[in-house]
C-alpha cells in the first residue's frame, strides 16, 4: 500500500516537473515586483545620475547584483554574455581563460600587422584593441531574419521571420563559438577563435558567409512570408 502511495506521489511530482518544462507556468521570482535591477558599473551609475534617472531608483528596493556583474577593470557586458554562451558544464573559469587567450592572440596578430605596415594611413585603420574587435565581430554577425518552421495545411514551411536584438546576439555569438570549434584536432580553440574574430570584424570569413547564406535563403523563401500571421 505504502509503495503505491509513493508511486502516486512520484507521478504527481513528475507531472509538476513537466509543467515547468512546458514553460507556460513560470517559476516564482525570488523578488517581488517592486524590486529593480541593479546597475553594477560606475560609469552607468554616473550616466543615470547625470540624466536624473537615478532619483526614483533611490527609494526602491534593488536586487542583489549577479556575481559576474561587477565594476572591475575588465568588465564588459558583451564579454560577460559571451562567457555565458561559451561555458560548458558550469566551467566558467575555463570559458574566461579561453576567451582571454583568444584576446591575447588577437592582440598579437593585430600588433604584428600594425608593426609591419609602413603606410601611416593604413596603420591608423588597423584596430589593435581585442575588445573593440569582439564588439565589431558580434555586431557584424548578427542576422536580421531567420527561418522558422511553420505548419500550414499539413506541410511545414520555412518562414523568414524578423528577430529581436537578443536573439540576433544569441545567433551571432553562437555562430562565432561554433566556428572556433570547427578546427583541426592539432590546433587550439583560442587560436582558431582569434582568426575568426578578426575576420568577422572585417566583414569576411566563415561566420559572415553563414549569415549571408541564411539571408539568401530568407530571400528565396519570401513567398511564405505571409505565413507569419494567422
Amino acid at each position: 500500500m505504502s509503495s503505491l502511495i509513493l508511486k502516486l506521489q512520484f507521478q504527481l511530482l513528475k507531472s509538476c516537473n513537466n509543467l515547468w518544462t512546458i514553460g507556460q507556468i513560470s517559476k516564482y521570482s525570488q523578488y517581488s515586483k517592486q524590486y529593480v535591477n541593479p546597475v553594477p558599473t560606475k560609469q552607468d551609475q554616473q550616466l543615470l545620475e547625470e540624466s536624473g534617472e537615478i532619483k526614483p531608483l533611490k527609494f526602491l528596493p534593488i536586487k542583489a547584483a549577479c556575481n559576474n556583474e561587477n565594476s572591475l577593470y575588465n568588465y564588459d557586458p558583451v564579454v560577460r554574455k559571451f562567457h555565458n554562451f561559451l561555458m560548458r558544464g558550469g566551467n566558467k573559469d575555463l570559458a574566461r581563460s579561453l576567451l582571454d587567450k583568444a584576446f591575447e592572440n588577437v592582440k598579437r596578430m593585430q600588433l604584428a600587422r600594425y608593426h609591419k605596415e609602413t603606410d601611416p594611413e593604413e596603420k591608423a585603420k588597423i584596430i589593435t584593441d581585442p575588445l573593440k574587435i569582439l564588439h565589431k565581430a558580434v555586431e557584424n554577425c548578427k542576422p536580421l531574419l531567420v527561418l522558422i518552421s511553420v505548419k500550414r495545411g499539413g506541410a511545414y514551411y520555412q518562414v523568414p521571420m524578423p528577430i529581436r536584438e537578443t536573439t540576433a546576439t544569441f545567433y551571432s555569438m553562437n555562430w562565432l563559438i561554433e566556428a572556433g570549434s570547427d578546427k583541426a584536432r592539432t590546433s587550439r580553440w583560442h587560436d582558431r577563435m582569434a582568426i575568426e574574430l578578426i575576420d568577422a570584424s572585417e566583414n569576411k570569413g566563415r561566420v559572415i558567409k553563414r549569415k549571408q547564406d541564411l539571408h539568401k535563403q530568407c530571400e528565396a523563401n519570401r513567398a511564405y512570408a505571409h505565413y507569419r500571421w494567422g
Partner: protein
C-alpha cells in the same frame, strides 16, 4: 543587396530592451572615457649594459638586432620573451636594481682571485631568467667566454632520451645528443672570441685508436670533433671546460659560467632511464659532474652566476631561499657564494613597466593601475599575464 535586408529596416524590428547595454555604441563610449588620458611614454636608456648604472633603474634598454641574430641565434632567451620580441617589435629589458648590483660586482671584482659565485634567487615570475639574459649580454660585450645552460631540467625532463653508460667514467651515464646540442650552442655564442684569442689544447687527447686530438691544436677543432662524433660529445664537454679553465687561469681569456636552475642537479629523481630501465639520479650524469667541476674555485679570471628555482623541487610548500633549495649536497658544491635576491617590482618600477606596456600597445585600454597592482602583487610575470587580454 536584396531589399528585404536593408540596414535601415533593422531599426523598426529592433526593440528597445535591456539589450541596449550590449550594443557596441554604449560600450564604445565607456571605453572612450577610459582612453581620454594620453598614452604613456616609456623611459629608455640608449646605452649598452657596460655602462648601466643606478640612474638607469626602471628604464628599458633594447638588445640590438645584431646580438639577437648572432649571440642568441640558437636560443638562450626564454620562450615567452622570444614571442614578445615579435609583438613589441623590439627586444627590451627593464633595468632593475638587483641587476645593477650584480653588474657592479662583476665590474669591480678582482679577477686575479678565484671566481666569485653569485646565486640569484627569488619567487617564480620575478625575473631571474631575464636577469641572466641581461648578464649574458653584459658578459658578451665585455669579452667573456660564456658557458651558459639555459635550463638544467631540460636535460632530465624527457624520458625518451636514453642515458648511455659512460666508457671513460665508470658508474656515470652520458647524454650524447644533449651534449652535442650544448656544444653547438656554445660554439654559436663564442666562436669569434675563441678564434680571436687563439685558444689551444694543452695536451693530447686520445678518443679511440684512430681518433686523437693532438696537443696545441685549436680549441675550435676540439669542439667540432664533439659535434661531429656524438659518441664522444660528453667527454669533449668535460675536456673543453678543463681547457677553458686552464686558459683563463693563464690569462688568455675570461670565462663566465652561467647556469639557470642550478638546483635541478641535486634532485633525488629524474625522468631519464638507463639501458636496463633503471632511473638515473641527476648527478650521475657526466654533464652534471662537468659543471660541478666548472663552478669550483680552482681557476681564476672568471665568474659564476647561477640561479636556484622553486620549480626544481617537489616539495608542497617550497621556500625560494638558496639554502633551502640547494640542500646539503648543493651547498657542498657551491658554498661560499654571494646570494642576490630578485625581488618583486617596487612601486616606481611597477609604473615604469606599465608605461612601457602602454607605449608598446600591450595594454590597449590604460587605467586600473591600482587593481592590477593588487591582483599581480607587483610580480612582473603575473602582471604581464593580467595585461595580456587587456
Amino acid at each position: 543587396m536584396p531589399t528585404l535586408i536593408l540596414r535601415p529596416l533593422k531599426k523598426i524590428w529592433a526593440l528597445p530592451t535591456q539589450m541596449r547595454l550590449f550594443s557596441s555604441e554604449a560600450t564604445a563610449a565607456a571605453v572612450a572615457n577610459n582612453v581620454q588620458r594620453k598614452r604613456a611614454v616609456a623611459l629608455r636608456t640608449p646605452a649598452d649594459p657596460l655602462s648601466h648604472t643606478e640612474k638607469d633603474i626602471g628604464h628599458s634598454y633594447t638588445i640590438p638586432e645584431s646580438i639577437l641574430s648572432s649571440f642568441f641565434s640558437l636560443g638562450g632567451i626564454p620562450k615567452t620573451y622570444a614571442e614578445n620580441i615579435k609583438t613589441f617589435n623590439e627586444a627590451a629589458i627593464m633595468i632593475r636594481p638587483h641587476t645593477i648590483e650584480l653588474l657592479n660586482y662583476l665590474r669591480k671584482a678582482n679577477y686575479a682571485h678565484p671566481p666569485i659565485r653569485y646565486v640569484l634567487y627569488g619567487k617564480p615570475g620575478c625575473g631571474k631568467t631575464m636577469t641572466i639574459t641581461h648578464v649574458l649580454h653584459f658578459a658578451h660585450l665585455s669579452g667573456f667566454i660564456v658557458a651558459h645552460i639555459p635550463w638544467v631540467w631540460n636535460w632530465y625532463r624527457r624520458s625518451r632520451i636514453q642515458a648511455v653508460s659512460s666508457e671513460s667514467k665508470p658508474g656515470l651515464v652520458n647524454l650524447p645528443i644533449e651534449a652535442m646540442t650544448w656544444l653547438k650552442y656554445f660554439l654559436s655564442q663564442n666562436e669569434e672570441i675563441i678564434i680571436k684569442s687563439n685558444l689551444r689544447t694543452s695536451k693530447e687527447y686520445v678518443w679511440s685508436p684512430r681518433e686523437t686530438t693532438p696537443a696545441d691544436s685549436p680549441l675550435i677543432e676540439l669542439i667540432q670533433h664533439g659535434i661531429g662524433r656524438v659518441k664522444y660529445a660528453c667527454d669533449v664537454v668535460d675536456v673543453l671546460i678543463d681547457e677553458l679553465k686552464l686558459n683563463s687561469t693563464n690569462n688568455r681569456c675570461k670565462m663566465m659560467i652561467v647556469i639557470d636552475g642550478f638546483n635541478a642537479f641535486f634532485l633525488p629523481f629524474s625522468n631519464l632511464k638507463k639501458e636496463d630501465k633503471s632511473r638515473v639520479i641527476p648527478d650521475q650524469v657526466t654533464l652534471a659532474q662537468t659543471f660541478f667541476k666548472a663552478v669550483q674555485p680552482d681557476w681564476c679570471n672568471g665568474a659564476v652566476v647561477v640561479t636556484v628555482d622553486q620549480f626544481n623541487t617537489r616539495d608542497e610548500q617550497p621556500q625560494e631561499t638558496p639554502l633551502y633549495l640547494l640542500k646539503k649536497r648543493g651547498l657542498e658544491v657551491i658554498d661560499p657564494f654571494i646570494p642576490i635576491e630578485v625581488p618583486y617590482l617596487s612601486t616606481y618600477e611597477f609604473h615604469c613597466l606599465l608605461d612601457y606596456y602602454e607605449d608598446r600597445l600591450w595594454i590597449q585600454r590604460p587605467g586600473a593601475r591600482e587593481e592590477l597592482e593588487f591582483l599581480s602583487v607587483k610580480n612582473p610575470y603575473e602582471l604581464f599575464k593580467l595585461c595580456a587580454p587587456l
